[in-house]
């Protein structure tokens, strides 16, 4: 077999393959936090400008014992849950109508194109005039911010449902509501879920912005107050809470997607 004149072919494949490095991210964060802590303790950075991670944790610990602090969290959660739910529900219904019927689409697409680019926080003063300074104006800002990406994701998701599946359902005599419920909506679900991911991050941004403009309680208001009092440790504790809130929402959505789209 082994001819002295025969040579092995040089391997030129491989590369460009992403491998999982399980511990790498943890090591990165540990090193980053350790560096940060050292930099503050050694006096390279002013503790007032950038408090050490340990002082942020301590600020958290102190705050957790106080009643008003929890109110910040519950108020924020209430606003984001209600605002997001109302906005998503409306977005789903309008988006589905735009995906299914021609007239709602003919009206809806220009309307959405005109209104979507408005930064929704600019409407908060108007909503305050309409609904007062209470919860309704903040909830409405979040809801309207969530509405547009959800409506767009829903009708583009419906557009993406393969026509052959709809034809198949028609050829078996499936009635119209069944086709919507069993073919169109499940087919649009991946797109809708992608839209929900976007709308959740919109909701978080609008929540903080709205609370910074006009709220007594809420994580946004808390951060703003801490900034005004130069309590940077508390300020960063608020930021860390937002990061955790975003992380929790993101993880929950990933789980939901995995379960709902297990057929993919």
């Amino acid at each position: 077999m082994s001819d002295p004149n025969a040579r092995a072919i040089e391997f030129r494949g491989g590369g460009f393959v992403i491998r999982p490095y399980r511990g790498a991210a943890i090591v990165f964060f540990v090193v980053l936090i350790a560096l940060w802590e050292t930099a503050v303790r050694a006096g390279w950075v002013s503790a007032l400008a950038l408090p050490a991670p340990s002082s942020i944790v301590k600020a958290f610990y102190d705050l957790a014992g106080s009643g008003p602090f929890w109110r910040n969290i519950t108020d924020s959660l209430f606003r984001i849950v209600v605002g997001w739910s109302v906005g998503s529900a409306a977005g789903l219904v309008i988006g589905a109508a735009m995906g299914i019927w021609s007239l709602p689409r003919a009206i809806g697409i220009p309307a959405v194109s005109a209104l979507f680019p408005i930064p929704k926080i600019a409407l908060l003063p108007l909503f305050i005039l309409w609904f007062g300074i209470g919860e309704a104006s903040k909830v409405a800002t979040i809801a309207i911010g969530v509405f547009f990406p959800t409506a767009i994701a829903t009708y583009t998701g419906i557009d993406g449902v393969p026509r052959n599946l709809i034809r198949m359902a028609q050829s078996f005599g499936s009635p119209w509501p069944s086709i919507v419920w069993k073919v169109i909506l499940p087919g649009a679900l991946p797109g809708i879920l992608a839209g929900i991911r976007i709308s959740a991050s919109f909701a978080l941004i609008l929540l903080v912005a709205a609370e910074m403009i006009g709220a007594q309680y809420g994580i946004g208001a808390f951060i703003l107050t801490a900034g005004n009092l130069m309590q940077t440790d508390q300020l960063l504790a608020g930021v860390v809470m937002l990061s955790m809130l975003g992380l929790i929402i993101g993880t929950a959505l990933t789980r939901l997607e995995k379960w709902l789209l297990r057929w993919r």
Partner: protein, 261 residues
């Protein structure tokens, strides 16, 4: 039941896809519609089963479908058209769900067609977990579940590799011989048409016209035998001469605005 297409014409914008097609599908026969790509054969199949509206002409039906037929004109699709979010058994059940039959009978029907197509072990699998051949078996099972009076097959084997195609063809012949359901079988594959059809209708392209109908006087069961193969080979040559020139033109054409079939 007999289907009669009368003076069917169809156009997509300026393109005349079909022109003056007169065609009868007889009770219990398999009629193959064959022609080069772009000849409008799938369009004609869509018109025959009532999911496409012809520009002109009409399709008539003589006789009533059997009483247990839930969906008299039933398609089997080239791309299978399975709902990817439903398991095999739920895909089959989809065809039955909107009919007022008891849940027990529905389950029995699903069970029966899954058994006949050899899918019982795969009933809880999702389409993406199945090979192309298995997916088309699901498509066939779904079609059989509604007890069709006329099966309309739109290039059912074209998306499959040659080996799977041969296997599925044998399965299909066995199923058909046990039921003798009237069928219209659209294909561009001459061998498939010759193996299966009682009559082969040849369409020309642009505009799609009926050129010729050839009867194959040999029982399907005999066509797999060596002697049958020899006779079919002669017929194959004869038909190939008929469609070769047009197939060549079709192959060299630049598509405008996508395929229209």
């Amino acid at each position: 039941m007999e289907l009669i297409a009368e003076q069917i014409g169809h156009r997509y914008g300026d393109v005349v896809a079909l022109e003056k097609i007169d065609l009868t599908v007889h009770e219990g026969e398999i009629l193959a519609l064959i022609g080069p790509s772009g000849c409008g054969k799938s369009t004609l199949l869509g018109i025959i089963g009532g999911i496409l509206k012809p520009t002109s002409g009409r399709v008539l039906v003589k006789g009533a479908p059997p009483p247990d037929s839930l969906n008299p004109y039933t398609y089997i699709f080239q791309d299978f058209a399975l709902l990817p979010w439903r398991t095999v058994e739920d895909n089959v059940a989809f065809a039955l769900e909107h009919h007022p039959i008891p849940a027990r009978e529905r389950m029995a029907r699903v069970e029966d067609v899954l058994a006949r197509t050899g899918l019982l072990d795969f009933r809880r699998a999702f389409p993406k977990q199945l090979s192309g051949g298995m997916r088309q078996r699901v498509g066939i099972a779904r079609a059989l579940a509604v007890r069709p009076a006329v099966l309309l097959l739109d290039e059912p084997l074209s998306a499959l590799d040659a080996q799977t195609r041969a296997l599925l063809m044998e399965d299909f012949i066995a199923l058909w011989l046990s039921q003798r359901t009237t069928a219209v079988y659209v294909t561009h594959n001459l061998n498939e048409a010759l193996r299966l059809a009682d009559r082969v209708a040849i369409l020309s392209r642009r505009p799609g016209r009926l050129r010729e109908i050839v009867r194959i006087d040999m029982p399907q069961a005999e066509r797999g035998t060596p002697a049958g193969q020899v006779r079919l080979a002669a017929l194959h040559d004869q038909l190939w001469q008929l469609i070769k020139a047009e197939a060549q033109v079709a192959e060299r054409e630049v598509l405008e605005g996508g395929a229209h079939e």
